[in-house]
Symmetry: C2
Subunit: 407 residues, 2 copies
């Protein structure tokens, strides 16, 4: 008998029939003798509808109140799931995040989990019940409800799996696993049987549809094997796990990631002296603007061009901060481009083997795609290119690295 934590997303519990359908899947799994803790998201578009309702009343609702409001979405689906299991004659109980012992910090709207005290869950499991937990929500020390931010139900599931020392965390969603690239762009994309945490994180720019990054990071820290699979079809999913053995596989590229939400800022003629990076990037960080790729070209006469990327929605705010700074440090123009995209090849152990980067650059060159910026990490090589060529780049790279082949 294994203890399994499952999570079903909003699409999977979108209406009464879908909830019943998921209940049947849970029942079938229970038949096999596993102990089950099931985390559920809010039904369908409930969260968006609640936000719209709040905005009718207050365009800028206080985070604390919004969290209380949004948390009702998951509360509703958790009780309905318990009712569906009761209707099938199965013992089940719904628990709120607070009852499940999810303790969070007080940063309403994007609280991190501080601790999990699964006492009540253990009690209910001990009584033979299937435990349904409302995802996305926890409780602060002051006993206020706080939510974990978008995708927070994934985080709830992995955190519970870690605290309960569950054998596995299973994320059931509307896609049936992790693919070598986005199947909407490259129909030959292949579903991966397994992938390690780091590769999953790098793939997440388009894989975010599959699973929330924070949950993958948490899985990595606590070594929780995470299965991503379809909640609608009985087909094998993708197992995200530590998987040391995978490093030695022949083809080290696991997949092609892309991201079209890229804007570039270049500050020209920055004096190259110590502390200048902090002067430029400190205020962005203070303003909560996440800076992605940073490139500084080789300095000629102690003058450099500094280029970095941000998401498009942050571009305007970033500019407002950067322009006075550029003036203050006697730099030149600030120029921007918001029609860019990132395309990356991802694979563990890739940087320890030669030739991947050059094959990537050659592939893009052969397709007539200009590379604006290059950046690399342990397991990823990223090129920033024109937005209009993303699909071409993804398909060319998918082919070049032979990802469409059967394993």
């Amino acid at each position: 008998m294994a203890l399994i934590v499952q999570k079903y997303g909003g699409t999977s519990v979108g209406d009464a029939d879908k909830i019943k359908n998921v209940a049947r899947r849970i029942a079938a799994r229970r038949e096999k003798g596993d102990e089950l803790v099931v985390v559920v998201s809010a039904m369908g578009h409930t969260t968006d509808e609640l936000i719209a309702l709040a905005h009718q009343i207050n365009p800028h609702p206080e985070d604390r109140e919004l969290d209380v409001l949004l948390s009702t979405g998951e509360t509703v689906s958790s009780t309905l799931m318990a009712m569906a299991l009761h209707e099938m004659g199965l013992p089940a109980i719904s628990l709120s995040g607070a009852q499940a012992g999810i303790g969070t910090e007080s940063r309403f709207g994007r609280a991190r989990i501080l601790e999990v005290d699964p006492q009540r869950i253990h009690k209910e499991l001990g009584e033979g019940k299937i435990v349904i937990v409302a995802g996305f929500q926890g409780i602060t020390e002051e006993m206020d409800i706080a939510t974990l931010g978008r995708g927070g139900s994934d985080t709830t599931a992995v955190a519970l799996a870690a605290a309960l020392k569950a054998e596995r965390c299973e994320i059931y969603t509307d896609v049936d696993g992790v693919y070598t690239t986005d199947p909407r762009i490259e129909p030959k994309a292949r579903k991966l049987v397994e992938i390690n945490y780091e590769e999953m994180l790098e793939l997440a720019t388009w894989g975010a549809r599959v699973m929330h990054n924070r949950a993958v990071e948490l899985g990595a820290v606590y070594n929780v094997p995470i299965l991503v699979a379809s909640s609608f079809r009985d087909v094998p999913g993708t197992l995200i796990h530590r998987g040391e053995e995978m490093v030695e596989q022949r083809n080290k590229v696991s997949g092609i990631a892309y991201d079209t939400d890229v804007a570039k800022v270049t500050v020209r003629g920055v004096p190259d002296r110590p502390g200048i990076a902090a002067t430029v990037f400190g205020p962005l960080s203070d303003a909560g603007i996440s800076v992605d790729t940073i490139v500084q070209n080789a300095s000629v006469e102690r003058i450099a061009d500094v280029t970095f990327t941000v998401t498009r929605k942050d571009l305007e705010r970033a500019l407002k901060l950067i322009e006075p700074i550029a003036h203050q440090i006697s730099a030149g123009d600030v120029i921007t481009d918001d029609h860019l995209a990132k395309v990356s090849i991802v694979g563990a152990g890739m940087t320890s083997a030669p030739g991947y980067a050059s094959r990537m650059f050659k592939t893009l060159f052969d397709s007539g795609i200009n590379i604006e910026i290059i950046s690399t990490s342990e397991i990823r090589i990223t090129c920033i290119i024109d937005e209009s060529r993303v699909a071409d780049a993804v398909r060319a790279l998918h082919k070049a690295f032979e990802l469409e082949e059967a394993e």
Copy 2:
């Protein structure tokens, strides 16, 4: 500066605009310098919609799960009300029943309040905030959500007023006070300036639209003055209070109550021996069937006809229990009539003054209305009559006791 507890019902917070409207009323009251605790019901038909959703999944949802589900309705309106006040620049915070310290027993769906620990409310009031409390819900010792049953938000409000030693509990609703009788039947019905708790309870058979009986009882026990008034119009409401001085007023009849949900059961030829009442009524009580009026006629040769009334929905179940008992105690036929209604005159001190009962009987006789059963209490005289004559009876009695006159 007085501490006031207000309660706004579901119609009053039915949509975003109505919530904003209530927020404006709260703000105006706050301007006067009062400390405010505001209890809100679920928006409009939310509770019915949630029940319908549950029934789509399970026709007989477990009470514990249903309570968690229904409680979200009040949680939603409490946060929206806080947001509406924030939008007006006022400090406010929403609290769940649990946070407001409403401790209940574990009878899910109809839990009674066991204790109120208003620590958190005091803290928030101390910080100058308007405290919005989700009505209808509390928390059990096991930290499960339990609801107080239909109309429970009234009970929440009065219980909080008692625990906080508030100056007054104000129930804002879609009617503007308590009338001498139902204005839909007698347009000359007059709004009462004040009424005592007991009269209010007796009037509640049609007054139930105005306010929940449990809340009135609680108000009586803790001597909480309760104002019932309109949430839409600025007109004086009705104050429900102890009001000893009212007993001596000239016209002791405060109002005319009626109830059309009456079914009568008569067991003929019941042997008149000790213990027979327990034999007949014990099983009904065990089955949770509430028996209203009981009449046993003068016994002739130790044989009696026993008549009692139940609500129409309980009639079938009552019959199934009574028929075998009638057979067992060698009684005669069991006959029923489900086309009856009750009409009552209600007034404190009425039974200590002569002539009220006879005037009531004469009035009905003069209108050609036959009286089936008579029963009386300290402050009420009730006649059971044919359902088709209820409106006539109410109007005739309202006139006979001069209730339409200005005070």
